[in-house]
C-alpha cells in the first residue's frame, strides 16, 4: 500500500472517493456471530474436558492438554472436509481465536502445499501462517518468565 505522502492529488481524491463508497463492516453483527460460534467451540471443549476427567483420571488442572489435542484432531477432520473454512467465513474470529483455528492454520497450509512435495511443500510451509503465533507466544513467554524468575532471585518476591 502507498503511504499518504507520496500520492498525487488525483490519487488522494480517489482514495477519498473509495473510502466514501467502501462498505462499512457490520461490526456488531460480526461480534455476535463470533460470540456464539466461539462460545459454542469452547462449550464443546468443556464437554471434552469432562469426558477426560471422568474416564481417564485427569484433574481440572491437567485436562487442558488432552482437550487441546482432541480439538486439534477435530479441526483436522473439519479442515480436510472443507467445513472449517466455510465456518471461518461465517464466524470470523469466533473460529480463528480458539485453538482449533491454530490447528486449522497449520493443517490447511499442510494440505494446500502437498502438491509441492512432502519435504519442501508440506514440511516447509506447515507453519507459514501459525509460525507468527509460535514465535511471539514463545518470545513473550520467555521475556515474562525471565523477568519473573530474575525478580524472584534478586528480590525474593
Amino acid at each position: 500500500m502507498a503511504g499518504k505522502k507520496n500520492t498525487t492529488p488525483e490519487q488522494q481524491q480517489y482514495q477519498q472517493l473509495q473510502q466514501k463508497h467502501e462498505k462499512k463492516r457490520p461490526v456488531l453483527k460480526n461480534c455476535i456471530k463470533a460470540f456464539f460460534i466461539g462460545g459454542l467451540i469452547c462449550t464443546i471443549g468443556q464437554a471434552i474436558s469432562y469426558f477426560y476427567i471422568y474416564f481417564f483420571n485427569f484433574t481440572e488442572q491437567s485436562v487442558g492438554n488432552p482437550t487441546v489435542a482432541t480439538m486439534v484432531f477435530l479441526s483436522m477432520l473439519l479442515t480436510g472436509f472443507g467445513v472449517y473454512d466455510r465456518l471461518g467465513q461465517f464466524a470470523g474470529a469466533g473460529s480463528a481465536v480458539p485453538v482449533t483455528g491454530f490447528g486449522n492454520a497449520v493443517i490447511s497450509a499442510a494440505i494446500e502445499h502437498r502438491t509441492e512435495g512432502f519435504v519442501l511443500g508440506v514440511g516447509g510451509n506447515m507453519f507459514k501462517l501459525a509460525g507468527s503465533v509460535l514465535l511471539f507466544g514463545v518470545f513473550a513467554a520467555f521475556v515474562v518468565a525471565l523477568i519473573k524468575t530474575l525478580l524472584g532471585i534478586w528480590g525474593g518476591i
Binding site: 469452547c42 474470529a93 469466533g94 502437498r114 507466544g137 525471565l146 524468575t149
Partner: protein, 118 residues
C-alpha cells in the same frame, strides 16, 4: 457442572469478540490479532491473572489461543522454580506440548489423507 458450561460459553465467546473487534475496529490481520492475543495471554500469566480465569471458566479460557501464552509461561516458571534460570528454556513447552505436537502430527496426517480443494 451446568454453570461451568455456561461460563465456558460466555468467557470463550467474549474472548472471540475481543478478537473480532481487533479484526474489524483496529483493522488488524488475523496473523497480527492472534499474535497479539498470545502475547496478552503470556502477560496476564506473568501477573498470575490467567489461572484464576481458567478455574472460573474452564475450557472457555483454556481453548482460546490466549491460553497458549499462559501455558508457555507456566511451564517456563515451573521449571525455573526447580532448576533456576535455565528452566525458562527447558520448561517452555512442558505444559503446552500437546497443542504443538498435535498440530504437527495431525497436520501431516491431514496432508497425507486429504487433497487440496479448488
Amino acid at each position: 457442572m451446568l454453570a461451568m458450561f455456561f461460563w465456558a460459553f460466555v468467557i470463550g465467546g467474549l474472548i472471540c469478540v475481543i478478537g473480532q473487534l481487533l479484526f474489524d475496529v483496529a483493522k488488524l490481520t488475523p496473523g497480527h490479532t492472534l499474535s497479539l492475543l498470545v502475547v496478552i495471554g503470556a502477560v496476564l500469566a506473568g501477573f498470575g491473572l490467567y489461572e484464576p480465569l481458567i478455574n472460573f471458566a474452564g475450557a472457555g479460557a483454556s481453548i482460546p489461543i490466549t491460553s497458549f501464552g499462559n501455558s508457555l509461561v507456566n511451564g517456563a516458571l515451573q521449571d525455573a522454580n526447580n532448576h533456576g534460570l535455565i528452566g525458562v528454556l527447558t520448561g517452555m513447552f512442558q505444559v503446552t506440548s500437546s497443542g504443538v505436537s498435535a498440530a504437527i502430527i495431525f497436520g501431516f496426517i491431514g496432508a497425507l489423507v486429504f487433497k487440496p480443494k479448488g
